[in-house]
Amino acid sequence: MSAVTDASAGPTPISGPIGRRMKRKEDPRLITGRGNYVDDMVLPGMLYMALVRADVAHAKIRSIDKSAAEAREGIYAVLTGEDIGVGAPLPMVWVPPGVEVKTPEHWPLARGEVNHVGDPVAVIVGADKYGVVDALADVVVEYDELPAVIDPEKALEDGAPLVHEDLGTNKTHEWALGGGDIDAAMSEADVVVERRIVNHRTAGAAIEPRGCIADWRADSVTLWTSTQIPHLVRLFLAGEIGLSEEKIRVVAPEVGGGFGSKLNHYAEEVLACYLSRHLGRPVKWLETRSENLATTTHGRDLIAYCKMGFKSDGTITGFHTKIVADLGAYYQLLTPFIPCFAAFVMSGCYKIPAVQTDIVGVFTNKFATDAVRGAGRPEATHAIEVMMDQGAAELGLDPLEVRRKNFIPKEDFPAEVAVGVIYDSGDYHGTLDRLLEHVDMDAFRREQEELRSQGVYRGIGFSTYVEICGLAPSRVVGPSGVGIQGGFWESAVVRVHPSGAATVFTGSSPHGQGHETGFAQIVAEKLGIEPEQVEVIHGDTDTGPFGMGTYGSRTLSVGGEAAGRAAMKVQDKAKKLAAHLLEAAPEDIELSGGRYQVKGSPDKGLPLGDIALAAYVPENIPEGMEPGLEETSFYDPENFVWPFGAHAAVVDVDIDTGKVEVSRYVAVDDCGRAINPLLIEGQVHGGIAHAIGQALFEQVVYNDEGQLVTGTFVDYALPTAAELPSFETDRTETPSPVNELGVKGVGEAGTIAATPTMVNAVIDALRPLGVTYMNMPLTPMRVWQAIQEAQGGGSGPRSTEQGRQTDEHGSGSAGSGPASPAEGGDS
């Protein structure tokens, strides 16, 4: 393992493109405003689409009067659910073997009833972008309201109103993953720590809202859509709009962020295609931010009842978690699977002999949850890392010592954990040691005490994490494995041009990650050219191989690996051709310094350009060799990859107001071998900020009537630069044995690690005041209320994690929500 920091070049000098801290090839167009996002495109004759949406959470549709809208000048179509005939409902692709998942039908427009605020009931298409918005108010919908199901635990009680009458229950499914004897583990424990840990609902909130343009021409359609999965969208559309796949082209143009919320297929994509065919003209749809917060997938939203058994010396005997997951009213692509994904990493970094995770999903009258940056693993890591601190406190032990005591040691890798997955490589002691080189704990504790005596409440919190990514080995997650109806390989075509430059076509689909740079570095190194000579083409189902898209930190470990393998196939052929041209044996050719040369005789060598020309003007190529220089790879990983790290947050809490300020954030991450350290840091920064956002600021809140309280960016509070510190980042490099590149993935790591650092830090700051436990979000009011409660004082109606208000004793008041059990105590 080589140790590198973000500032230095590290002990091993970087010579080739791989590892180079190069600035991005995609930036010139983006910094000059020449990026081409969906809304930037205009097609001749283009019409605009807008949706009439339910303003109630749960109701039967009594009537829809379209007449005034239809009569409006410039309006070309007003259609409802009954008018739109599609061949298939919106897909949910998880079919776990042996597990029943109650699945409601989910059509692009509501049919007969609406089940969440924002549920689309009619679609309008018109010539004028502003005029269609005016027409929305013309459509008169009458509803017969039904009770709104909002609290997931109440929804599971007998006699609770049902979201879907025809399904007979609000329980979506039950699923479990475990290993070892959990009951024995708990009886062997000296102390069993129990907590009710809430991971509240958040939004993806990419700065570019969703949008699409459908252009149906005679017997084929092109859909430009802001998506993370263009090839998969094409596959789904084929069934929905009744057109064979090869006649559908889906293009992801420049995509302004995704964070999982665009790893999906949405109603509007189907509707735009349908209407473009219906009207014979291109149809554009863009969501407003208000629509985005209401009807683009939410994330998280689960309640975890955690039980961790400890010996008095801090050794963990077992970890049992029961999760109640609030999934919303309908499913999007992976909705019921996401909380289950958490179960795969419930061991964390630790040797835990028995781990059991039981999940129950619940329907509520809200929009669907689905993958949001981390997709299940932030929830797992939050639970584990908070429990580690809680256990340490109960045992009277140092939280870092408890972690060390239980870490899987470096020598044990590849390490199979209780639930049966195999972590590829790791050095958890290493990253924690490195973190502590940046954080002097003795000095901190002295400073903390000093500040406390001055009335300043400073705290430090840690999180040591491992995460599962590089989605995914197909046989593990596929139909007979976990049950996802798909493969999780990735594809690449590497095409060398006669001049010796190259183009990479990838099935990967970036939305800010820097594929055009990172993949260029990989391929350039394998081909012996420079990244400046490699173009990366992505996101267009017409121009490249079928691919699974970008999410789950799979860009490098799966997509980059595929590109690397395709490039190696090209290298092999180039070597054979070079050997032929140089009259040597293929095994005597090496690629060195940009030349394919005879080992030991560097004067006998050729650059790739010469070899390419020879391949395309095939006067002199070996017998049986095809002309051309282009290769394809479909790479299916053998295993997931497991990045890991150690983070620390220092916070200052104003105990009079409850406001938390992050004064320092230090992150040591190991994502295996670095392809481009600049890109790695950027992903870590963004991931941390995303998690701090959830921990302190962001919350999706539905009130008891199912109205979305956090409907705009006024209330859904993304942090600004003023709320965040600069981050101190460092890295270790423990290569992954799973792929040839040795990479592990880093896109979600920051988000996975950081929420528990925040909670642990605030609790550390407030322990002297008697606060021993808190759930997120750590809003000023909730922090202040926790302090009041710990001090025995009143704090008026309390705010729950779901944003509703209860009185101190937990029963409803002031028109607000249901009982909320005391923080951290019995369930």
């Binding site: 972008k129 502003y130 918005v133 005016d134 108010a137 407003t288 931010r289 208000s290 009079d656 107001t657 406001k659 600021f697 809140v701 309280v709 956090t710 705009t712 006024v714 209330d715 509070a717 942090p719 600004t720 003023a722 709320e723 809003t779 000023p780 009011m781 202040w784 209320q785 009143g794 704090s795 008026g796 109606p797 705010s799 944003g803 208000q805 002031a814």
Partner: protein, 280 residues
Amino acid sequence: MIPAEFDYAAPESLDDAISTLSQGGDGAKLIAGGHSLLPLMKLRFASPSLLVSLGKVPGLAGIERSNGGFKIGAMTRHAEVAAESDLGVMAHAAGLVADQQVRNRGTIGGSISHGDSAGDPPTVFLAAEGSVTAKGPNGEREIAATDMFKSYLTTAVAPDEVVTSVYIPALEGFGWGYEKFVRRSEDWAMVGVCALVKSNGGTCEDVRVALTHMGATPLRASATEEALRGQSLSPESIAAAAEQAAEGTNPPGDLNATPDYKKHLARVLTRRALTAAIAR
């Protein structure tokens, strides 16, 4: 995102603005910086049929000394007010409004006429006991701050009047503090407190405390003022006076704050604002 349709006029004199506004009837509304009105219109919470812009009316922007105080043209942007440090607490509060882009457009006259209790300039205006000059078809008049804020988003300015300037008195001898408590720096105040204190040898000769976002309008914390007037300006008496900051208030709760928490914040911020005012 898209406002409903409306007509637009950009008169080039104050008298034209007044007559256009009158002729426009009930559906006519003035637009200054537009950063209170346009966001409401874009969400279709407001749909005036005619917008009368003050953007081309000359002589409505600028800051000048007047009667020892300051006469600030109604169209003066928050950014300009913020840059005029002689304006003391009003400059400080203007500099806390939203973000730079909003401050470059939003105006002091617009903010005070809009009368949002969550805004910062109205609170300071109330504490400073300023006044506005409003001109309408029937002539010009002064409206004192104490008469200005009637109820939620409703001020004493008549629908056919144009606020032309804002007067902030000299505030000679007053130290000031403005404490704005926010989730994020660009947010409206969850609660804000403006304190003006005139000290006479360590005793409170006069004090004004006004509250942001503690009711339908900006409010004076009169119980605190009474408790402190004439008292020594010791930390103890400040704390005791601040304890009464929420007396008589009935703040509505919202996503970020229950009424009890708001009242608590009012007390904490009042103590801090008073402490800052004395230090100045």
